[in-house]
């Protein structure tokens, strides 16, 4: 394989890795703060993409307004779900997971009922379809936009988590919910904030992902959601840098597997699940060896 082709794959892998990382962050924030595997995260992702698409296709709203509206509605839906479904179940481990399953199930089928299961093209600015040529490397603009946007979002998130009081409170809640209450932190507010962050990242990830793979249907969120979850586990679920590194590694590895072993392409989902299982069995803390919250398990 010559070097330009390799660079080509590298660019693709970096873009896919950034997308997985964006989604993985949503999983890791919720798990870190509430200790819940929010299996419906991928469906919030689908919801954002679907609403954005619907705004543009049905009501001819300019894409930037439609995207913003979709993101706001998704965040509100996330808050609502947290309030009515997750909060009453917070103390009960398995029940809260069954609650998350039912939400995932509900969102998917709600969208089937409202918009039918047919997959629809995702509208995006025409600029993103352009392709740049640098030497022999073909560089789709959408990949550059994904990488730049993700970098900005990661930076913003790091600043929020480390420099603001809410971010500090969030980290305190994830370490010890009772002690943080004694310090005057209201855990309900912090958990709501965590859901706002998580769903906004799902929405941002959805817009970027669907610009790259421009089709949406009510089940779009499943596979990226699962991959992102695997990324979060690989990095160490509960840790934000872990989710970035893990999601990134998984995306890159997926593209590289396709690049170097094209005969195994159809096995890539199996490999992803194997990675998940092996990590959970032998290194549940992930690459960063995050301390497992035993008391909540």
């Amino acid at each position: 394989m010559d070097i330009s082709l390799f660079l080509q794959f590298l660019v693709n892998g970096v873009a896919l890795g950034s997308l997985y990382a964006l989604l993985a962050i949503g999983f890791t924030i919720i798990f870190g703060v509430v200790g819940l595997i929010n299996i419906a995260h991928g469906d919030f992702f689908m919801m954002a993409a679907f609403l954005a698409m619907w705004g543009v296709m049905q009501y001819n709203i300019p894409w930037y307004i439609s995207f913003a509206l979709a993101a706001v509605i998704t965040v509100l839906a996330g808050l609502l779900v947290e309030k009515i479904a997750y909060r009453p179940l917070r103390k009960m481990k398995t029940s809260s997971f069954i609650g998350a399953i039912s939400i995932s199930f509900l969102l998917q089928n709600l969208f089937v009922v409202l918009f039918t299961a047919r997959s629809k093209p995702f509208p995006h600015p025409a600029l993103l379809d352009e392709v740049l040529y640098i030497g022999e490397i073909v560089l789709p603009v959408v990949n550059i936009v994904i990488v730049i946007f993700s970098a900005i979002l990661f930076l913003a998130l790091t600043l929020i988590v480390t420099k603001t009081n809410t971010g500090r409170a969030m980290r305190a809640v994830s370490k010890d919910i009772e002690a943080s209450q004694l310090m005057g932190v209201n855990p309900n507010k912090i958990i709501s904030f965590a859901f706002i962050l998580s769903t906004s990242f799902a929405a941002a990830g959805a817009f970027l992902y669907c610009s790259k793979f421009p089709y949406v249907d009510p089940f779009t969120g499943m596979m990226p959601g699962i991959k992102a979850f695997i990324g979060a586990v690989v990095g160490g679920i509960g840790s934000i840098p872990g989710a970035m590194v893990g999601g990134f590694t998984l995306g890159l590895a997926e593209i590289m597997l396709v690049a170097f072993l094209p005969t195994l392409t159809s096995y890539r989902d199996i490999f992803a699940y194997l990675v998940l299982i092996l990590f959970l069995l032998f290194r549940p803390g992930g690459i960063f060896n995050v301390k497992v919250r035993e008391e909540k398990v």
Binding site: K93, I103, T116, Y273
Partner: protein
């Protein structure tokens, strides 16, 4: 005491014979549609009862049901199909030995399906059951998906994404209902035995269980393997009834359906599981009618696809929020209950009603 036990045993045997006689009568006299519904009820009942064994009684949430059912279904389908049909079905990749030559009757294929599922269940459970809670359910979910993806990716064994069709329908209602009776009987006996007490002990507090000398791993894997065996049988019967299977039959939605039924009936009650399977089957058929387009008083109402699943999702959410004990909680049907003598021992045994 001795007389009571005898009366109960007699009644159980009589009821089983009654059910089997009913199945023979129903097969000949009832509408094919109703017979099919009873089949689905029975198959779901086996799946739910085996899920209750591993989750309700042992406290280990397993999401592997869809994948395990797929193994049972594919074994039964591959072993009962005749070599000629297989040769035409596998038109892209020829089947490998021994699949290209075998043609077995239903019973041995069903048992082989169950045993193979149990073996694979053991192989999944052995590493997975060392984990707890979230980690366990994610790992079992991962294994279930790996099984499904392997079915897609191994065309020489299971014909890939196209699946298998024309599976001979040897099965009749007697097969399904006997399987239900055997499953309920075995699981009930297991749960009431000393093993069952150990399992409940693990569910309540695994550290305490270990402290009093319960071998955690051995008991968990025992429950998981037995559960897998019955799921395999249920999968095999499902293949017989459907006649056509492909990997997408065994998507995680099947597991979600089993979880919904289990929560509806009450995860700690086998009776609840059987009742809930019936309720789910009937509801599912009734809602299928709602999904179809229809004309009432010359006005056309368009069908609403997806409504059925949406209704089940909302039902699961409401159940888990407001009625975690389901229909039966931890109560069981018993002859003593019918005859008005409350069995005090059972009520005392389960102190903590709340589903964790």
């Amino acid at each position: 005491m001795k007389i009571k036990l005898k009366r109960n045993t007699t009644l159980t045997i009589l009821a089983s014979i009654g059910i089997l006689l009913f199945s023979i009568w129903a097969d000949q006299n009832l509408d094919a549609y109703i017979v099919r519904l009873i089949h689905m009820w029975g198959i779901y009942a086996i799946m739910v009862v085996s899920f209750n064994l591993i989750y309700g009684f042992t406290g280990q949430f397993s999401m592997a049901h869809a994948g395990l059912a797929a193994i049972g279904a594919y074994v039964v389908a591959l072993f009962t199909l005749s070599p000629e049909i297989k040769a035409t079905t596998f038109f892209i990749t020829a089947p490998v030995w021994p699949i290209n030559v075998v043609e077995w009757p239903l019973l041995p294929s069903l048992i082989l399906g169950g045993l193979l599922t149990a073996v694979i269940g053991f192989c999944i459970g052995a590493p997975a059951l060392r984990l707890h809670g979230d980690y366990l359910l994610i790992v079992t979910f991962g294994f279930s998906e790996i099984i499904r993806l392997l079915l897609v990716n191994l065309p020489m064994i299971c014909n890939g994404a196209m699946g298998l069709k024309g599976i001979p329908q040897y099965s009749n209602l007697t097969w399904t209902l006997s399987a239900v009776i055997v499953t309920v009987f075995v699981v009930k006996r297991l749960v009431d035995s000393s093993y069952g007490r150990a399992l409940k002990c693990i569910r309540e507090d695994d550290i305490a269980a270990e402290a009093v000398g319960v071998n955690l791993f051995r008991h968990k894997i025992l429950a998981f393997t037995i559960s897998a065996f019955f799921v395999g049988i249920a999968g095999g019967l499902l293949a017989e009834i459907l006649g056509t299977i492909d990997p997408s039959t065994f998507k995680p939605y099947l597991t979600y359906a089993v979880v919904t039924m289990a929560v509806l009936g009450g995860v700690r009650s086998l009776t609840g599981g059987v009742i809930a399977a019936g309720v789910y089957t009937v509801m599912s058929e009734w809602l299928r009618g709602v999904e179809a387009p229809r004309t009432i008083f010359n006005i056309d109402f368009p069908g609403i696809p997806g409504l059925r699943m949406l209704a089940f999702a909302i039902m699961l959410l409401l159940l888990i929020l407001f009625a975690r004990n389901g229909i039966m909680g931890n109560r069981e049907f018993s002859w003593s209950w019918i005859f008005g003598k409350q069995n005090a021992r059972e009520d005392k045994e389960e102190g903590n009603n709340e589903l964790a």
